[in-house]
């Protein structure tokens, strides 16, 4: 049975970003029905039934997250949409925002309704100029059609959605740094606990969801949680957007059910390796922050639990493919430079460790490495991992430790040859 595209159903239509096209293709019908016939609690139950797990990287069940909100109503509740997509190699949310903003917006309204929230914030990555313009226009259109604001579609439910643009920091995609940034402060992750569901934006209970997560909700509302749960694999349900970049013929965003084999994504969706004479060397199926897999272990299913079992993670599904021409030291140096640049500088292990990685890797890549350097990388990574305020520590420690462990001989080669065997093309 051919897979029916859901998340990317509309993106190839002309003017897919306009409300007219969205409405003409059945858009906002789910919202219309829910506001008439479904209570917020029932909507929340439906999302729980669907098994929808967060698409931002952590894979936490969305319905369960929503149910952590305190039952008391002495403070407003906020929904923050995390559109700060900044992971290298991840560009799925951008596609949704630019090509189908009303799908995202309908998901926002339905989710806000389910958690009885009346103000939602759309925190969008600062560099997404186009996405911001398109999404703001979508919001304006929705207000004009009575889909936002007071008494949506004549119901008793009211919701305002506000956009807020980031200022260019990767860390603001971390949910508590996002809250700080949204409050007008420097984007530094907060200590947890308290968790945002209890103490979030402006001290109020707050739910933060990824764009793609919320884009699933209209379908759950339209066709039911049980239907959704039938897609994919047990506990890893629903459609998923997979990004693939690197040495592939057709890099891009592909929709497939969770649990799709990575090799199928690579060979069938992305057209296989870029150069026929350069075989697959390694891949990071989940994204730059995740552990790398050597080609021999790339025969994995793309879902949360399968990738965890394989020793890596689905992350934000920003897959990267490297062929045999890739210098793993250089590739890791490139990544490490990104993380050193983006470390917020708040806590010691990450602030100091990220810069140290770069210095060691640059030395290795330029042929000045010392025999102890690969072990030093592993030891520094070990001291960063688990000891930081936010998961950024893991986001850099995991690639470092996995690249060194999986491709140890290549690191040692750089030392013994006193040069990069690949020509050190990646050193800036």
């Amino acid at each position: 049975m051919a897979y029916e595209k859901l998340l990317l159903r509309n993106i190839h239509r002309d003017d897919s970003h306009t409300i007219d096209v969205y409405l003409a293709n059945g858009g906002y019908q789910a919202l219309r029905r829910v506001l008439k016939e479904v209570s917020p609690d029932q909507m929340l139950e439906e999302v729980k039934t669907s098994g929808l797990r967060g698409r931002g990287g952590a894979g936490f069940p969305a319905g369960m997250k929503w149910s952590f909100l305190p039952k008391t109503r002495d403070k407003p509740r906020y929904l923050c949409v995390n559109a700060d997509e900044s992971e290298p190699g991840t560009f799925k949310d951008r596609l949704l925002i630019e090509k189908d903003p009303h799908l995202v917006l309908e998901g926002i309204i339905l989710s806000a309704y389910a958690i009885d929230c009346h103000t939602a914030f759309f925190y969008i990555r600062g560099e997404f100029h186009k996405g911001y313009r398109i999404f703001q226009r979508a919001i304006d259109e929705a207000y004009a059609k009575g889909l936002l604001g007071k008494n949506i579609l004549g119901s008793r439910y009211s919701l305002d959605v506000l956009t807020y643009r980031g200022a260019g920091a990767y860390i603001c995609g971390e949910e508590t740094a996002l809250l700080e940034s949204l409050e007008g402060k420097r984007g530094l992750p907060r200590l947890k606990p308290p968790f945002p569901a209890i103490v979030g934006l402006y001290g109020c209970p707050t739910i933060i969801n990824n764009v793609e997560t919320l884009a699933n909700v209209p379908y759950i509302a339209e066709r039911g949680g049980a239907w959704f749960a039938g897609i994919g694999r047990p506990k890893n349900t629903g459609p998923k957007l997979f990004c693939l970049s690197g040495h592939v013929k057709r890099p891009g965003v592909y929709e497939a059910p969770l649990g799709t084999p990575f090799m199928e994504l690579l060979n069938e969706h992305a057209g296989g390796m870029l150069h026929p004479d350069r075989p697959l060397k390694a891949a990071v199926p989940g994204g730059s922050s995740m552990k790398v897999l050597p080609a021999s272990r790339c025969d994995v299913l793309l879902d949360f639990d399968s990738l965890a079992a394989a020793g890596t993670s689905l992350g934000s599904a920003g897959g990267m493919v490297m062929d045999s021409s890739t210098c793993m030291v250089g590739a890791l140096l490139n990544l490490a430079e990104f993380y050193a640049h983006e470390s917020c500088g708040q806590c010691t292990p990450c602030r100091e460790g990220t810069g140290w990685f770069v210095k060691i890797l640059r030395r290795l890549e330029t042929g000045e490495g010392r025999p102890e350097d690969p072990d030093l990388l592993l030891d520094v990574a070990r001291r960063v991992e688990g000891n930081t305020i936010c998961p950024f520590g893991e986001a850099v420690a995991w690639p470092v430790s996995s690249y060194v462990k999986e491709f140890r001989s290549e690191f040692d080669d750089h030392v013994t040859r006193k040069a990069c065997p690949f020509g050190a093309a990646s050193v800036r």
Binding site: G315, T348, W356, E372
Partner: protein, 556 residues
């Protein structure tokens, strides 16, 4: 960005029994030792109560929790990751371990991280000797670094404020200073700028660290990044002797440490006292150690000819001894009284005197028949929301309690007028400078036949005096002040008095004796004993019961 995988918790070994605890408390184990802690307390605080040190940089009990240094990571049973002791709240039955190999290994790692970009310029750093990096390196570090690269460079010697200098390379970004300015002074001059290893403390555009409490950022800086300009390169801290005392710059009387070396107080820092000043003090009070060394001191008695009195001894003659000068003072006052009547004598007594000095002033003035006693006020600005009081005297409350009278501007003005008009012919001035303060003009003193001044510096009034007697400056003698909330507190000597200077009570005792004052009055504590025995507000108090934290006076 990933969420870390969560491993399955290890099996829990059998636990020692937990002690019983109250409804607002929880019982837990720290390193196997039972502890009862208040609900809501942190692991770090609970550990402190049983003497277990959880090392930390960013945590400060007077500030919010930042959790950024990661030095206080400890192991907590059933939690897969190490947890920061400064933010993790105690829970019933929790088992905390602070000395496991994993914790020690982690601390070594944090120490190494903190030092890779630190300049290690301890030999020229003012913080050396009281630096947490040094202390923790010795205790928790590995003693060596594997970092061989070029360190990240930042600007050094930045005048971040008028009184504070910032060294960007020494900074460990604990943000104590930022939080102080956000939470205590609420002036928010500071922030963290830049990212990663380049992150650095800076002021917001157009701002400087010039709030009235900026010196506290230096105290709480755990490293040598923020330094107090007057103390830069002044003394190595291990030579300093810290004497617990109180500040005399206003009626608050903040608890302080006077840090002395080579008979000079080089630094005044706040001493924690929850009843008075918490952890803080103002910059003004901090700077009061300088005048006693830098102002022109009155080091020896001065005797000048008075109209109708005996001849002076300054200029040509030999310098008078303290005893000779006291004789001359008594004689001048007595002569003025005999010519114009005792009613023409008056005293101007400072609320900066200690209780003991005020007590002796009272005794001596009574013996000399001087009934008109005026305590002038010294007010400046307004009380602020933190510590600074507009009453700039440390003992106005004490003057009132001893019956000298509360500081009174009208009485001071009336006295000045009577001095100028010649109604007052003999004046004894104790620790005041009516000329310098503008209360009277120097010419207005010409009608006086006896002007006796006791002070620690050569004020304008001293320069007009017939007899000037040198008393101790701040930090040279001990005594008791009563602050604005009625708290009796001890001020102490950190350095020896300059030259012939004596405590004012000792000078007053000698003058009193010339008028028949009896009593030994051998020391400040002995005088205080008499105060405690005679003034109800101080009943039962001794230097010992006042201690280092002070004691509320009766009825206050």
């Amino acid at each position: 960005m990933p969420e870390p995988n969560v491993p399955v918790p290890a099996q829990v070994p059998p636990q020692p029994e937990l002690p019983p605890c109250g409804p607002d408390e929880v019982a837990l184990l720290i390193d196997g030792r039972p502890v009862v802690a208040k609900k809501g307390a942190t692991v770090l605080q609970a550990a402190e109560t049983i003497g277990v040190v959880v090392p930390h940089y960013c945590y400060h009990p007077g500030l919010s929790v930042a959790g950024n240094c990661r030095m206080c990571l400890v192991e907590i049973e059933k939690m897969p990751k190490l947890q920061i002791g400064c933010a993790t709240q105690v829970a019933q039955g929790m088992s905390v371990k602070t000395t496991t190999a994993r914790v020690k290994d982690t601390r070594e790692g944090i120490m190494e991280f903190l030092l890779i970009n630190h300049p290690l310029d301890c030999p020229i750093c003012d913080q050396a000797g009281e630096c947490r990096l040094q202390q923790y390196s010795a205790t928790y570090g590995k003693g060596e670094s594997r970092f061989v690269e070029e360190k990240i460079h930042h600007d050094k010697r930045i005048p971040i404020g008028e009184r504070v200098t910032f060294d960007g390379e020494r900074c460990i970004k604990c943000t104590r200073c930022v939080r102080f300015c956000d939470e205590v002074t609420r002036t928010s001059e500071l922030t963290l700028v830049e990212r990663g290893g380049h992150a650095i403390i800076d002021t917001f555009p157009g701002m400087a660290l010039n709030n009235a409490y900026s010196g506290n950022t230096v105290d709480i800086c755990p490293v040598g990044a923020l330094t107090w300009k007057p103390f830069r390169f002044a003394a190595r801290v291990w030579f300093l002797k810290n004497v617990p005392s109180i500040c005399s710059a206003c009626a608050r009387g903040c608890s302080v440490d006077l840090a002395a070396y080579q008979n000079r107080v080089h630094r005044i820092t706040p001493r924690h006292n929850p009843e008075v000043n918490g952890w803080w003090m103002c910059d003004f009070g901090r700077q009061t150690c300088a005048p006693v060394h830098d102002m022109p001191r009155l080091t020896r008695p001065i005797v000048r000819p008075a109209p109708g009195g005996p001849g002076g001894t300054t200029g040509g003659g030999a310098a008078p001894s303290m005893g000779e000068a006291v004789d001359q003072a008594a004689a001048a006052l007595r002569a003025a009284a005999s010519r114009h009547g005792a009613g023409t004598l008056a005293a101007l007594v400072s609320a900066r005197l200690t209780l003991e000095e005020m007590h002796l002033a009272k005794k001596t003035l009574a013996a000399a028949g001087i009934a008109r006693i005026v305590v002038p006020p010294h007010e400046e600005g307004q009380d602020d929301e933190l510590l600074i009081r507009k009453d700039r005297t440390p003992n106005g409350r004490g003057a009132a309690l001893l019956g000298l009278g509360a500081p009174d501007a009208a009485a001071a003005a009336a006295l000045a007028a009577d001095v100028a008009s010649g109604k007052v012919r003999g004046l004894i001035v104790l620790g005041e400078d009516p000329v310098g303060d503008g209360l009277v003009r120097a010419e207005g003193l010409r009608g006086l036949e006896a002007l006796v001044v006791v002070d620690w510096w050569t004020s304008a009034t001293v320069q007009a005096a017939h007899v000037a007697l040198p008393s101790c400056g701040y930090g040279e003698s001990e005594g008791v002040y009563v602050n604005c909330t009625g708290r009796a507190q001890r001020t102490r000597a950190a350095v020896r008095p300059v030259d012939l200077a004596e405590p004012a009570w000792s000078i007053l005792r000698e003058i009193g004796r010339r008028f028949g004052l009896a009593g030994a009055y051998a020391s400040a504590p002995a005088i205080f004993a008499e105060i405690a025995a005679t003034v109800p507000a101080f009943a039962g108090m001794t230097y010992r019961t006042i201690g280092e934290a002070g004691a509320q006076v009766g009825g206050a």
